[in-house]
């Protein structure tokens, strides 16, 4: 064996690392993501990291769950919904209204928010699933903006001002935790459970059916699949996850308003994460959230004040680079680049 054969450097070293990681059992892979993260609040409470770091990570784990949720309908079933902020808002508002107006604990409010979000998703899907491609995207976006303009005028839920958690005492039953870092664990559990569910989906019959519908709807029907029914199923599941995420979010920030939940940008944030990471993959939303959320939080911090908006310009540029150079997401890009075992390129 020559020296050159033994030398593994540059791209090849990444290939080796990648293949190492990819060949680990899923439980270990998830452990590598979720295990060390359990220590983040400890790092904060011991003063090793800033609140901004922990806040960013809390949102990152929330968005892992949201990204997975969108991935079900957008990545697996291939329906580009630009209206998922509606489901996020339904979850958030349901939880907030029940707690603030009626004193009903979010332990009920959050799942109920998920169920109502699911119902909203099914209504949206029932109306829009006869459309495809751009048209579906456009119709869901229009629906989301219509809901935003309604919420902006709806006095019961505080119209454009929204709802504040004034007078809500912290505690287990109000799901408002003091100190706030406890919320990190709520998001962590949410992200973990959703990741496990999606892992299940990825390898289930349903996962295969949805991917098939995504690839060729007519051929899927020809295999006996009721395409509409499975799209609705995916929409219901996806909406439920996003709705629960909305509930957890409002409990964390203790405030909900149309701009906060329904803005055009929120509609898109949810889908950017799986798209950056890789559609229809289990690790896509995880990778996407870890790239997107820190970028968003830190650029926002950097450009706060005079240069409001520059953060979004940067984000637009990043998005352009992703859709041009890795249109199938980073996870798929990595797999295509490093996944094949042509490794050392030996000439034997």
């Amino acid at each position: 064996m020559s020296v050159a054969d033994r030398y593994v450097g540059g791209v090849d070293r990444f290939r080796v690392y990648y293949q190492h990681l990819a060949s680990l059992p899923p439980a270990v892979q998830f452990g590598l993501v979720f295990g060390p993260a359990m220590l983040f609040p400890v790092l904060y409470t011991t003063g090793l990291t800033s609140w901004q770091f922990l806040n960013t990570m809390t949102l990152t784990f929330l968005f892992i769950g949201l990204g997975h949720g969108w991935n079900v309908i957008g990545g697996y079933a291939g329906q580009i919904s630009l209206g998922h902020a509606v489901m996020f808002a339904v979850g958030a508002y349901t939880t907030a209204v029940l707690l603030v107006y009626y004193g009903i604990t979010p332990w009920i409010g959050i799942p109920l928010g998920g169920v109502l979000a699911s119902a909203a998703g099914l209504i949206l899907g029932g109306v829009t699933f006869r459309l495809r491609y751009h048209y579906f995207a456009l119709a869901t976006l229009a629906a989301a903006l219509a809901v935003e303009s309604l919420f902006n005028r709806w006095d019961f839920i505080g119209a454009s001002v929204g709802l504040q958690y004034t007078g809500v005492e912290s505690g287990l039953s109000s799901f408002v935790f003091e100190p706030r870092w406890i919320h990190f664990y709520a998001m962590w559990v949410f992200a973990l459970l959703v990741t496990l569910l999606i892992y299940r989906l990825h390898h289930s019959r349903l996962g295969i059916y949805l991917k098939a519908i995504n690839m060729d709807q007519e051929l899927a029907a020809n295999a006996g699949l009721n395409v509409f029914r499975y799209k609705m199923y995916a929409m219901g599941l996806s909406s439920f996850i996003v709705g629960v995420g909305g509930g957890l979010y409002v409990q964390y920030v203790n405030f909900v308003s149309p701009v906060e939940t329904l803005d055009l940008v929120r509609n898109v944030e949810i889908l950017l994460i799986p798209i950056i990471g890789g559609l229809g993959t289990v690790f896509g939303p995880i990778v996407g959230a870890f790239i997107y959320m820190p970028t968003r939080e830190y650029t926002r911090g950097m450009f706060a004040g005079t240069l409001v908006g520059v953060d979004w310009v940067i984000f637009g540029l990043v998005l352009l680079l992703v859709v041009i150079y890795a249109p199938h997401g980073l996870v798929n890009r990595l797999r295509d680049t490093f996944g094949n075992p042509k490794g050392g390129e030996t000439d034997e």
């Binding site: 059916y209 098939a212 690839m215 029907a221 006996g224």
Partner: protein
């Protein structure tokens, strides 16, 4: 229409599985099918031939509910299935392949098979929580072995050759044990070496009880396969009967080769 009875020397004794009765389909002003009629009985291999534009593929599309019928009736096992949704028809026991082989390219060959499993009594929650039954897996692998694709079971279906895709399509249609399979030009675009394999597979499957209705341009293939033949021309029945006899008919030759 010519008198179909005179050439009908084949004894067709089994029960009809598929009955197409006077099916008409027009697109705007153009009539693609004009009262087409055919019958496929249990255990048969029935051929459908006709010059280009005779309406053969339109007929399959009408039977499978891709198009809504303008007029007429399609029955499967005596039940009216006219203009039903495709997946409903598939779940009632009829499947089809396409003229241009179609697969789900990013799914593996085995997944392409599994997707054709019985969906009739499938619960939604079950599809998320439990994988396919072992029986279904075994049956899929058995069928793949039967058409000679078992070694490729874990490869993406997009990597198969056209002929292999067609074999995969045929195998896939059989997974749910349908009453009848419609094959749209199974030999078209396939390299000659594989044509015989496909024909042999069809015959073997027929021996094990599968019923087929085949559209085919390759006359040798249709002669060797089908026991009963329909000739379509301009959307209507021209002739029907035993292949050898029918293909000698003057009207048929004329339809194919002009004056």
């Amino acid at each position: 229409m010519s008198d179909g009875q005179t050439t009908d020397t084949v004894r067709r004794t089994t029960d009809p599985v598929l009955t197409v009765d006077n099916v008409t389909k027009s697109f705007g002003g153009v009539t693609a099918l004009d009262g087409a009629t055919l019958e496929v009985r249990d255990g048969e291999i029935v051929g459908v031939v006709g010059p280009n534009g005779a309406g053969k593929s339109t007929l399959f599309n009408c039977i499978m509910g891709v198009y809504e019928l303008t007029d007429g009736r399609v029955e499967l096992d005596g039940t009216d299935i006219s203009s039903q949704r495709t997946d409903v028809i598939v779940n009632s026991g009829m499947s089809r392949t396409f003229q241009l082989a179609r697969v789900f390219p990013d799914l593996t060959v085995r997944e392409n098979m599994l997707i054709n499993q019985e969906h009739r009594n499938e619960r939604l929650v079950e599809t998320l929580l439990s994988p396919s039954d072992q029986e279904v897996y075994d049956r899929a692998d058995e069928l793949l072995e039967f058409v000679g694709l078992e070694k490729l079971a874990s490869s993406p279906a997009g990597e198969l050759s056209t002929g292999q895709k067609k074999l995969l399509n045929i195998a896939g249609t059989l997974l749910s044990d349908p009453e009848i399979v419609l094959l749209d030009e199974p030999a078209a675009g396939v390299n000659p070496g594989l044509v015989d394999d496909i024909a042999q597979s069809i015959l073997d499957l027929n021996d094990r009880g599968a019923t087929f209705c085949i559209i085919e341009h390759d006359m040798d293939m249709i002669r060797s396969l089908s026991e009963y033949l329909y000739v379509l021309h301009n959307g209507t029945n021209l002739e029907q009967g035993e292949p050898e006899t029918v293909l000698q008919k003057e009207a048929v030759l004329e339809a194919y080769f002009g004056q």
